[in-house]
Symmetry: C2
Subunit: 197 residues, 2 copies
């Protein structure tokens, strides 16, 4: 990495963490610079639009991580049901470890800024598309055909995303586990009737 780029990644990683815990608006540029250990004057060198460009980079980075995580789980599980339950187990564990402060690193920023901030919405769209295609493939391995698999993938994403919000107010992983278990069971039953059909 060129030395002039050395503070870029720490700033992005700090942004992912702080945005996830408290959102975009509550996170000051100074917090990002300070916690990332970057020289104060350097920030507009790395991110010419300031906080807005950091947010775009953070959504891209977080989207990449989520898609990688889901792809890794998909590779080691035998069905969408297993994938959902395993992903819920991971998410619930991370949330519990943070005292239920860490949720999805993308959701809060999107709710604060999209669709008004076009680049944020675009980064969010790409992050969701990457995740959706992993789920869609897994559902097709389950035996669902493409248009159905695509819509079920949207449902799977919605469900896990929403369950993280409930987990925060309940300070409990139960909503995440219940959501994944129930959805997994419903999909497995529908798959069973495909096989019988």
């Amino acid at each position: 990495m060129a030395p002039r780029q050395k503070h870029r990644q720490p700033v992005i990683e700090t942004a992912v963490r702080l945005f996830r815990q408290q959102g975009y608006s509550a996170t000051g540029l100074n917090d990002l610079v300070f916690e990332a250990g970057a020289p104060k004057g350097s920030i507009y060198h790395y991110f010419p639009e300031g906080k807005a460009s950091i947010a775009v980079a953070a959504v891209e980075e977080a989207g990449r991580r989520v898609a990688e995580t889901v792809a890794a789980i998909a590779a080691r599980t035998g069905s969408t049901r297993e994938l959902l339950i395993e992903h819920a187990r991971l998410l619930g564990g991370w949330m519990a470890k943070s005292g239920f402060r860490d949720g999805c690193p993308i959701t809060t920023v999107i709710l604060e800024l999209a669709p008004q901030e076009r680049l944020i919405a675009e980064a969010g769209r790409k992050a969701y598309a990457a995740r959706q295609s992993v789920l869609e493939r897994k559902l097709m391995e389950d035996g669902f055909r493409r248009p159905k698999a695509a819509e079920l993938a949207i449902l799977c994403m919605s469900a896990l995303q929403g369950s993280l919000v409930q987990a925060r107010v309940e300070t409990s992983r139960k909503p995440i586990d219940a959501t994944a278990k129930q959805l997994g069971d419903l999909i497995e039953a529908a798959r069973g009737s495909l096989v019988r059909a």
Copy 2:
């Protein structure tokens, strides 16, 4: 209403609207006072803790509205599937009308402040519990027994909540409609096998 209380409700309604569009942190106390037409000095009379107490009142108000909406839909629909699809139709219509800026009036505030702000988390918990009990009753009318109905209700809430986030980045109601349709169909199929069992 006592005259000294006359600005309380307009401030809460303004807060519900602005928090839904841009979140808590981006909404200044001055915006709330100005847009609600309340005298600037009056705000700490109505809300001694300032913005934090407005947020609690806004989450309570929004929770009441959502629970009322879901109860009204439940009363006029014949199954959980119909309820989900009808709720999605309403939510999608509202979101489209606002250019996909209006989402759930509770989610953003919760993601920004819970669980750190105990009173916000508590208000969120109550809002979700009210909504969950309406869904749970409908699922029991469908034929599911209590523990299963309770967990399916959590899934239904998670799914619609999450679909609103996707709708914002897609600036499309499709994720909401697809989520409700697929989940409704899965629940209807599971209900069918209960009846056959």
